[in-house]
């Protein structure tokens, strides 16, 4: 039944382009959102086939096995960490924050593209978002899950994590509400919950489609339970659309707030290199930058492997490349203004920090950061680069590395030489630092492979609204 009447979004077709909506001037010289020749039924076939097929492709097994092996490495690392304590990492005074915080910020930043695509682009009526929002949202969830591990483990006694919450207790303990680290607890928890709800609610009509199409009894039962009795009636759709829009409104501030608070973790301190007023918008831009890079990294192989080039078209890649270019330029602006102000401030601490970045023991990383995050992505100015999947993929990889280096520079390079030269020191990652990092990448991809196999990676019902036959001929006069 859910198969028959997808009306969601169709009335938006005739609506005027809202403020900031950008597809008009672009649409004239860009390929379409869905390649021609599809009908309501073939769209559903094409997307649900990946899930309902009995022959799982061999590539999927290989990919999952590899990521699962890395997940096991993560479990070993966590076990060893709990046995021995955080001393197995390379952290020590003065660098007491290192990989755990770098990876936390890196992962949580990656999640931002999913929220931006699902919430802001929905509110701006950018219908091209439809074919990438589902897996971008899934990416957000998995990235936030990976991110959440690190602060918990970094505390040393993760079983006492509930102490972070303000609850009445006999120990006379209460969180320090002036600390952004406490705000982080709430920001990230909210982010995870809202993203999860948004993703799940978006899935419901598709879960019903899978329930109706599943050839196996188990499939019908499992998808049936998850679909929560969805019948696709007009009333269902009405409430569904209301909920979805409300959740989009609720998620929109989260795109900005989460990374703003993450930036406060650093910026409210006095350490040169952390204390910069430009941090909040610069962190948010960096997060969106890294997030879109990850969406591109995932989208390019996926569309080829599953033959989805007709749904995730070159137009999507082009739009994402443009967003990467814009946010990347803002990140570069952040580097520029920080360097200028370090000199302009006339403060010996600020300028020696900047000297240390350019010429200190970690200078090679700062120069690599400029290469990966600023220089290489300038290729995105050229339409030829944006229309080559290979070039785009390479640039996205470069941005991912660059954004990781950026967090390394901010966290480690600022800490290792602060005000007193007598307390300077160096930080070197240990085996367990690297194993945790690689392990979290394994966890991310394991979850992603499971998602690809068991849930539709593209929203079936929303894709149908992009078809010409779903256009509602309204009498506007």
């Amino acid at each position: 039944m859910a198969d028959k009447k997808p009306t969601k979004g169709s009335k938006q077709k005739g609506a005027p382009v809202s403020a900031g909506a950008g597809s008009r001037s672009l649409s004239s010289h860009l390929p379409p959102v869905v390649e021609p020749g599809y009908t309501m039924a073939t769209v559903a076939d094409k997307i649900s086939e990946v899930v309902l097929t009995q022959n799982t492709p061999r590539g999927w097994y290989i990919g999952l096995a590899f990521s699962f092996a890395l997940t096991m490495l993560l479990l070993v690392s966590i076990t060893w960490l709990l046995v021995r304590g955080v001393g197995i990492w390379g952290i020590n005074v003065p660098v007491a924050w290192a990989f755990a915080i770098i990876n936390f910020v890196w992962w949580i930043g990656i999640g931002h593209a999913g929220t931006l695509i699902s919430a802001i682009l929905l509110l701006l009526r950018q219908d091209w978002r439809t074919s990438i929002n589902r897996f971008a949202e899934a990416m957000t969830l998995f990235a936030v899950a990976c991110a959440g591990l690190y602060p918990l483990l970094h505390m040393g006694r993760p079983w006492l994590a509930y102490w972070l919450f303000p609850y009445p207790n006999t120990m006379g303990m209460w969180p320090q509400f002036r600390s952004p680290l406490v705000w982080d607890v709430f920001a990230v928890t909210t982010y995870l919950l809202v993203s999860l709800m948004f993703w799940y609610i978006g899935l419901i009509p598709d879960l019903a489609t899978l329930r109706d199409r599943s050839p196996s009894r188990t499939g019908r039962i499992v998808y049936g339970l998850l679909a929560m009795g969805w019948r696709g009636s007009a009333r269902h759709w009405h409430r569904y659309e209301m909920t979805y829009l409300l959740l989009a409104g609720l998620s929109t501030p989260l795109v900005v707030s989460v990374h703003t608070i993450v930036s406060f973790d650093f910026a409210v301190a006095q350490v040169p290199g952390w204390h910069a007023t430009v941090f909040p918008p610069y962190f948010v831009a960096g997060a969106v930058y890294a997030g879109f890079a990850m969406v591109v990294i995932l989208a390019i192989p996926l569309r080829r492997f599953y033959g989805l080039q007709d749904f995730v078209t070159m137009r999507h890649l082009d739009h994402m490349a443009r967003i990467m270019l814009a946010t990347g330029l803002f990140v570069a602006y952040g580097y520029m203004i920080e360097t200028f102000m370090a000199w302009y401030s006339g403060s010996v601490y600020e300028s020696s920090l900047m000297n240390n970045r350019f010429t200190g023991p970690y200078a090679i990383l700062y120069w690599s950061l400029l290469l990966f995050n600023v220089l290489i992505p300038q290729g995105l100015w050229f339409a030829r680069v944006r229309s080559s999947t290979t070039a785009l993929f390479m640039i996205a990889i470069s941005v991912s590395i660059g954004m990781w280096l950026e967090r390394f520079i901010i966290v480690v390079v600022s800490l290792h030489r602060d005000f007193l030269p007598s307390s300077w020191g160096m930080y070197y990652p240990t085996f367990w630092d690297w194993s945790m990092y690689l392990g979290s990448i394994g966890l991310f991809f394991s979850l992603l492979f499971l998602f690809l196999r068991f849930l539709p990676m593209i929203s079936i019902f929303e894709m149908r609204t992009l078809l010409p036959e779903s256009e509602v001929k309204e009498d506007l006069g």
Partner: protein
């Protein structure tokens, strides 16, 4: 008859009467400023700087919105385009109005007084950047960049009126590089003209906070202008409730951006509590300026934020115009709060020369603005999105 003629600013438009009135106010303001400058040149220079920074924010913010619109598209852009272009075409006038500031650096800026710099190690360090010849050179550079950009944007757009050629891609391309150049030049212009008034203080947020404020000023200015024009044809035909709603959304977005930048900068400086940073806020939160700060929180953020959430309000021409007018007035308070506490005024917030300079610069600027608005059809006649917009008209 030239087909564009019906689209010109009507001779009896209220804007024309306002322009005449503004021109007279401008002249009077300048005469009063000149007279006051004989007795208290420093006070007049301070007032003039504030007035210049406020009024120049409108054309500069318009330049940013114009380029942003060429890059992102959207129907709201075509209706605003000429109104924004007319604002950017006033930049040559502002370059001339900048001259008094250039010639009173010694009165305005501590770093331009050798006797101060002599005893100040930090200012000696900054002398490589903060010195009068380099300051003048940079100002020339900024104006050249802005005037060249605004010239091409408006000339190409006007050429399209005469010959229906597709010029969208060209405008889009110049806007990409142009926006980048604008953000860079404006960042340094804000450091030069406003931040360096307190030469020991620095904040990496300052440039974009200033630019965000300019964009907001520009929006809060063009919304009332558009609303006045929308009372009669030709703008009446295209300024539907949907278009006003688009403008209202933009205004809401930039009110939030401004609040986000301002609050972030404040929180970070307040938390770290460093002796080289807090004096800037201490001066702005004492001696009466704290009332201006509270007014900014309530009237520059809370009130417009709450009102602009309403869909009905955004779709109403009069209400949106009223909210925009409040925001524009608060932009002036914000600029005075940014600039004037840098000077020692013995507990006075605003002095008579502030009002004279504000009227003087503003009056002349507005007169010139309406002249620019008059010089071309109010809508881009051959724009691709224009027929479509009329089609949506109920």
């Amino acid at each position: 008859m030239n087909p564009g003629e019906a689209y010109l600013l009507p001779r009896d438009s209220p804007l024309e009467q306002m322009a005449t009135f503004a021109g007279v106010c401008g002249l009077v303001g300048f005469v009063v400023c000149g007279a006051m400058a004989v007795a208290t040149p420093a006070a007049v220079a301070e007032s003039y700087l504030f007035a210049f920074l406020f009024w120049s924010g409108i054309p500069l913010g318009s330049l940013a919105i114009l380029m942003l619109q060429h890059i992102t598209g959207g129907a709201w852009g075509a209706v605003l385009r000429r109104i924004l272009e007319a604002a950017t075409r006033t930049l040559p006038l502002l370059a001339i109005l900048f001259l008094p500031i250039l010639f009173s650096t010694g009165l305005l800026f501590e770093w331009a007084r050798p006797e101060v710099v002599e005893h100040d190690l930090v200012l000696q360090h900054k002398r490589a950047y903060l010195n009068v010849p380099f300051f003048a050179f940079r100002a020339v550079l900024y104006f050249v960049v802005w005037i060249v950009l605004s010239h091409f944007l408006s000339e190409w757009s006007r050429r399209q009126d005469r010959a229906p050629e597709s010029i969208g891609l060209r405008l889009e391309n110049i806007s990409r590089g142009g926006l980048l150049l604008f953000v860079l030049t404006m960042t340094f212009a804000s450091i030069d003209w406003a931040m360096s008034l307190e030469p020991h203080w620095y904040s990496t947020m300052y440039g974009i906070l200033f630019i965000g404020g300019q964009v907001l000023s520009a929006l809060a200015f063009v919304i009332p202008v558009t609303a006045v024009l929308a009372a009669r044809p030709p703008m009446l035909e295209v300024m539907t409730a949907d278009r006003f709603q688009d403008l209202g959304k933009l205004l809401l977005a930039f009110v939030m951006v401004w609040a986000y930048f301002s609050f972030s900068q404040f929180l970070i400086i307040w938390s770290a509590d460093l002796p080289e940073e807090t004096p800037w806020y201490l001066r702005r939160l004492s001696q009466g300026w704290q009332w201006a700060a509270i007014a900014l929180i309530i009237l520059h953020f809370m009130l417009p934020f709450v009102l602009l959430l309403s869909r009905d309000l955004k779709r109403s021409r009069r209400w949106l115009m009223a909210v925009a007018a409040v925001v524009l007035a608060m932009r002036a308070i914000d600029l005075s709060w940014l600039v004037l506490p840098a000077f020692d005024r013995g507990g006075l917030l605003w002095v008579p020369s502030d009002f004279a300079a504000f009227l003087g610069v503003g009056g002349l600027w507005f007169y010139y603005y309406v002249r620019q608005l008059r010089s071309a059809p109010m809508l881009p006649l051959n724009d691709e999105s224009l027929p479509e917009m009329r089609g949506l008209q109920p």
